[in-house]
């Protein structure tokens, strides 16, 4: 039974990674950049929820809503100030700028909230579920996380396929110049992409810190890296790929931690990624781009 419980825990963690990975994969596909600061937006989201709940004592759901609003504003602002001026620049330059933004967010959080690790109070009020005569417990966090992840994926896929903005996003990701000629407002599209990604980051932070309650200025970095790995794993630019990559990564991480070694868990996760990419160099669901000679 404990294998099942680890598996479920892994799927739950993986769902969080998926939600974060969505932000990476959408921004990469549409704005053609690696938003290195994405993980730190999650950290900010976590701090917002924590502060709102502990100092204002508001209802957790309201705290999460406030976090979503603030993170969305943060994401769009960052895009406007730091990334938009560099849209014509080589992608490596934008990557470094994103790194600068990441440093900025981490150190601002350090300054405002201090260096000590905070203990996050879970926003989830759903009680844990006991199954199979008490031998299998599913935490309330997991009960919310997994279905929420599925809902988000479905909603996003519908949005991208059916809505005008969504289709515009796909157009920009495939051929930016052609999209402009078709009347797609590229500025608005990219801004919306960042908005969605950042909003999802806030949701992910609520779910993640509820399940893993230690919060500090560097708490967003590693999950950010792992989610980025998951996005590449599943095929960068692909929304279902983000889900597949995220879940797989979460499962591998938890199972490694449980059955092999806690310290080597991260190394094993990365190792599996490398193996996958050797077999399928564009990721699990990635598309092969044929180079024209």
């Amino acid at each position: 039974m404990s294998f099942i419980s680890y598996l479920i825990k892994g799927i739950s963690l993986g769902s969080v990674y998926s939600i974060i990975a969505l932000g990476y994969t959408m921004v990469y596909g549409i704005a053609k950049m690696l938003n290195f600061a994405h993980g730190d937006v999650i950290m900010i989201g976590g701090f917002v929820i924590f502060t709102v709940m502990s100092t204002m004592g508001l209802n957790p759901l309201i705290a999460v809503l406030i976090a979503i609003v603030l993170c969305t504003l943060l994401g769009v602002t960052i895009e406007r100030i730091a990334y938009k001026p560099l849209r014509q620049a080589p992608s490596l330059a934008v990557l470094i700028t994103a790194i600068g933004v990441s440093y900025f967010l981490q150190n601002s959080a350090l300054l405002i909230f201090g260096a000590d690790t905070k203990s996050f109070t879970s926003v989830i009020r759903v009680p844990a579920l006991k199954l199979a005569g008490g031998s299998l417990t599913i935490s309330g966090e997991t009960l919310v996380t997994i279905p929420l992840c599925i809902i988000i994926m479905i909603a996003l896929t519908i949005f991208v396929k059916k809505s005008k903005t969504g289709r515009g996003m796909v157009a920009v990701s495939e051929d930016r110049e052609a999209a402009v000629l078709m009347g797609v407002n590229v500025h608005k599209t990219i801004a919306i992409t960042f908005a969605i990604g950042s909003a999802l980051a806030a949701v992910a932070s609520a779910l993640m810190f509820s399940a893993y309650p230690s919060l500090s200025s560097v708490s967003g970095a590693m999950p950010g890296i792992k989610a980025f790995v998951a996005a590449v794993f599943g095929g960068i630019g692909s929304i279902p790929g983000a889900m597949v990559g995220g879940i797989l990564l979460g499962v591998i991480e938890i199972l490694s931690r449980a059955y092999i070694s806690s310290q080597l868990a991260d190394a094993i996760v990365f190792f599996v990624l490398i193996l996958v990419l050797l077999v399928k160099p564009t990721g699990i669901l990635g598309r092969k781009i044929q180079e024209k000679v």
Binding site: A82, P90, I96
Partner: protein
């Protein structure tokens, strides 16, 4: 991610000699300052770090700027170089007592270990497309750091013992010693690194890479960067040269690692010194100094290492200002409007217009 060089590598020998001369000059100036007690302790402690950060930046530029591949795991090679050399030095501390014999061997060991790792990783990684290559190098960097953290190596008169669990599992006999102590790393490495040796290694690194770039192999590597398909059609073996560049780059990072590990008393592998934090920091040096610009790498490494130290008076605001400065410099350098503004307001342009006015 396609990487474009910002400046054609200067094959002008004069400019390279000036750089080498400048480094030697600065070395002697610093030595005089130290002799006269005119150097702050802060700067004294930074002398060797400035050298190994420069070596790291220049060697990464070989991969990123000359070969044109984004590597986010450079610190992993530094890590291997640091640990293998430190292990050697610690173990032979009492048998090879002369540091002038022991340290050069340690340097060779570090360089070789990193080179071997470079070849292995290169064979795996270099056939992946840009972004995937970046992620896999990042992954490898993290793996190396993590594995070293669970490594226990001890020596007794029976030989070398390994374990991945803990020190006790080494089952060392009486008189045995744990050299690599898992997360506690290696303590007590002889501090054989000196400023002079560090500068020498920096000069060696610079000369090796400049000579490589201005040679047949260097041209082949840059051809692969600029247009792989055309290079193939010219009969250039792509994988061979990719691995060559990557390995040399890795080996030099290993040398930097040797300097690092022989300059501190406790060698541990953390996120900050051998994780992606370090790899990213070196990448920032390279991009800021100019992709493909080797002199720029050294200048950027020096400036960006000194800057946070000298901004210490700003206390807690130090890193935020650093981050803001970084963002501003990137935008100033790369935004088309800024580039145009700079062209119109450059000092050369101003002088030219002044001279034109005088003529008229």
């Amino acid at each position: 991610m396609k990487i474009k060089a910002t400046k054609q590598v200067s094959s002008s020998t004069r400019s390279n000699f000036i750089t080498i001369g400048a480094i030697i000059l600065i070395y002697f100036i610093f030595q005089m300052m130290i002799a006269n007690g005119a150097m702050s302790n802060l700067l004294k402690g930074l002398l060797i770090p400035l050298c190994y950060y420069s070596i790291l930046a220049v060697s990464l530029n070989l991969t990123v700027g000359i070969l044109g591949e984004l590597s986010l795991g450079h610190a992993g090679f530094m890590c291997i170089g640091a640990f293998t050399s430190a292990f050697f030095s610690k173990v032979t501390e009492n048998t090879i007592t002369n540091p002038w014999v022991r340290f050069p061997i340690a340097i060779l060991i570090g360089a070789l270990a990193a080179a071997l790792l470079g070849i292995l990783i290169g064979m795996v990684v270099l056939r992946l497309r840009g972004d995937y290559l970046a992620i896999v190098t990042l992954a490898f960097g993290e793996i190396i750091k993590n594995v070293i953290n669970v490594l226990f190596i001890g020596i007794d008169h029976n030989g070398i013992h390994f374990s991945m669990k803990d020190a006790a599992a080494l089952n060392l006999e009486e008189g045995g010693q744990t050299i690599v102590n898992g997360p506690r790393g290696i303590t007590g490495t002889p501090k054989d690194a000196t400023f002079g040796i560090a500068v020498l290694l920096l000069l060696l690194t610079y000369v090796i890479i400049i000579n490589l770039v201005n040679s047949r192999s260097g041209r082949a590597i840059m051809a692969i960067r600029d247009n792989r398909i055309a290079a193939e059609s010219m009969g250039i073996p792509i994988t061979k040269f990719k691995i060559l560049a990557f390995t040399i780059s890795a080996s030099l990072a290993g040398v930097a690692g040797v300097l690092y590990s022989h300059n501190i008393s406790t060698l541990i592998a953390t996120q900050k010194n051998f994780g992606y934090n370090m790899s990213i920091m070196i990448l920032v040096f390279v991009v800021l100094g100019g992709i493909g610009n080797l002199q720029g790498s050294i200048i950027a490494a020096v400036v960006l290492t000194l800057l946070p130290e000298y901004l210490r008076f700003l206390q807690d605001y130090r890193m935020i200002i650093y981050a803001i400065v970084l963002i501003i410099i990137m935008i100033y350098n790369w935004n088309p409007k800024c580039i145009a503004w700079r062209k119109n307001h450059s000092i050369q342009g101003f002088l030219a217009r002044l001279l034109k006015k005088e003529e008229a």
